[in-house]
Amino acid sequence: MKNHVWRPLLVALGLVAFILLLRVILVPDDFGIHDRGYMYGWYRSSNVQEWKNVTVKYHGSKGCQECHEENYQEVIASPHADIQCENCHGPRGEHPDNPEKLSIDRDRALCLRCHQHLPYPESARGKLPAIEGDKHHAGEVCVSCHNPHDPTQEVK
């Protein structure tokens, strides 16, 4: 066969070999077919651990009790017992190391998530105590009168 046939053929073959070699180097060992077969389980298995390593930010009210026993007892005896501390105070994260103090959301909008009146008597929302957010002491923060840890008590 003549040179002008062989040369481009060799180049093409070399290219294929190079790409295959690159694939062997670049694709990690754990990439392949796993538990759910080729259709659903074709992936890099070390990624599962990467997802498990995501930092937990919400730790639940039980952890708050260790330092804030008094507040915790007040809340769980009140109609707000089912509301987690972190819903209003924000995720605990590394607190008390970082941040030292959690920010407290005193915005009306936070209370109105549940207590804004909506005309849906048959829904679960209709069974909660409700106000018209734009009429009931508009502009005031709710916590200046209502104690959020125990809404049955007024703020002294």
């Binding site: 498990k52 995501v54 937990v56 919400y58 819903n87 998530r113 009146h117 849906y120």
Partner: protein, 260 residues
């Protein structure tokens, strides 16, 4: 060149090509038939009781903060929809900011079409429906991924490999429930994963913990004593868009035909 030479050389060439290909094992048909019955003792499932949802949106807030989804970007892994069905038979649906801040007005948020006021006496029923990834048994989003970046774990959760995703968006189009979106920071596909980092260490998903009304529950289908499994086995539960054949694993109590 003689015909004999040509045949000889093409055979040689073909043989030379085949050898390294098979040696590298690009494709092994035997492994494609990998057993469907997956080992392990968990299959994560979810139960939403729409009767209990008040639309407060604490679940959405907790989800965004727990999973580092940018708080002010209008994307979210879970969201709450409001359905207002009027007496004329129309259904009005909205979910402003995914209900991150709850529903603070009775007006329906129609985005660019503005806010729609619905007179109180025209409402025949209204309710809230939380939505999240259904962690389907046959996830269409996983099938369409061309690079193996999204996959289903042995315990039934679909995950996205952020290092592997090329951002083609096929999975976002492929999901019939619209739960996938582009992560504004990582620029890859993003989705609810039942808080995989929490459930695999014995915690509950952030939205489940944040819900004050018990409208959301996570459970393990392989555990017959699990409270969620008990409900699914003994009560009338429904799933979303069953006709798509995706076998969703998020079960709903109190769905009606208006819910899409």
């Amino acid at each position: 060149m003689k015909r004999r030479d040509f045949c000889k050389k093409s055979l040689l060439l073909a043989g030379g090509l085949v050898l390294p290909l098979s040696a590298l094992e690009l494709f092994n048909p035997a492994r494609l038939l990998a057993e469907r019955s997956v080992p392990g003792d968990s299959r994560w499932i979810f139960l939403v009781d729409t009767h209990k949802c008040t639309g407060c949106g604490f679940c959405v807030k907790a989800c965004k903060l727990e999973n580092e989804v940018p708080y002010d970007a209008n994307v979210t892994r879970t969201w709450v929809e409001r359905y207002v069905v009027t007496k004329d038979g129309n259904t009005h649906i909205d979910s402003p900011k995914g209900a991150r801040d709850g529903f603070l007005t009775a007006q329906i948020d129609n985005n660019h079409a503005g806010m729609k006021t619905i007179p109180e006496d025209e409402i025949s029923k209204a309710f809230f429906v939380p939505k999240l990834c259904n962690q389907c048994d046959n996830p269409p989003c996983v099938q369409v991924c061309p690079v193996g970046a999204t996959y289903q774990t042995a315990d039934g959760v679909s995950l996205v490999d952020r290092k592997w995703c090329i951002g083609c968006g096929y999975c976002i189009m492929g999901c019939p429930y619209g739960v996938r979106f582009f992560h504004p920071v990582h620029h890859v596909a993003e989705k609810c994963n039942f808080c995989y980092h929490r459930i695999t260490q014995g915690l509950k998903s952030a939205c489940v913990d944040a819900c004050p009304f018990g409208a959301r529950m996570i459970g393990n289908l392989r555990d017959p004593n699990d409270p969620v499994t008990q409900v699914i086995m003994t009560q009338r539960v429904n799933v979303l868009k069953e006709e798509y054949g995706t076998k969703p694993q998020v079960f709903y109590l109190g769905l009606t035909r208006e819910v899409k």
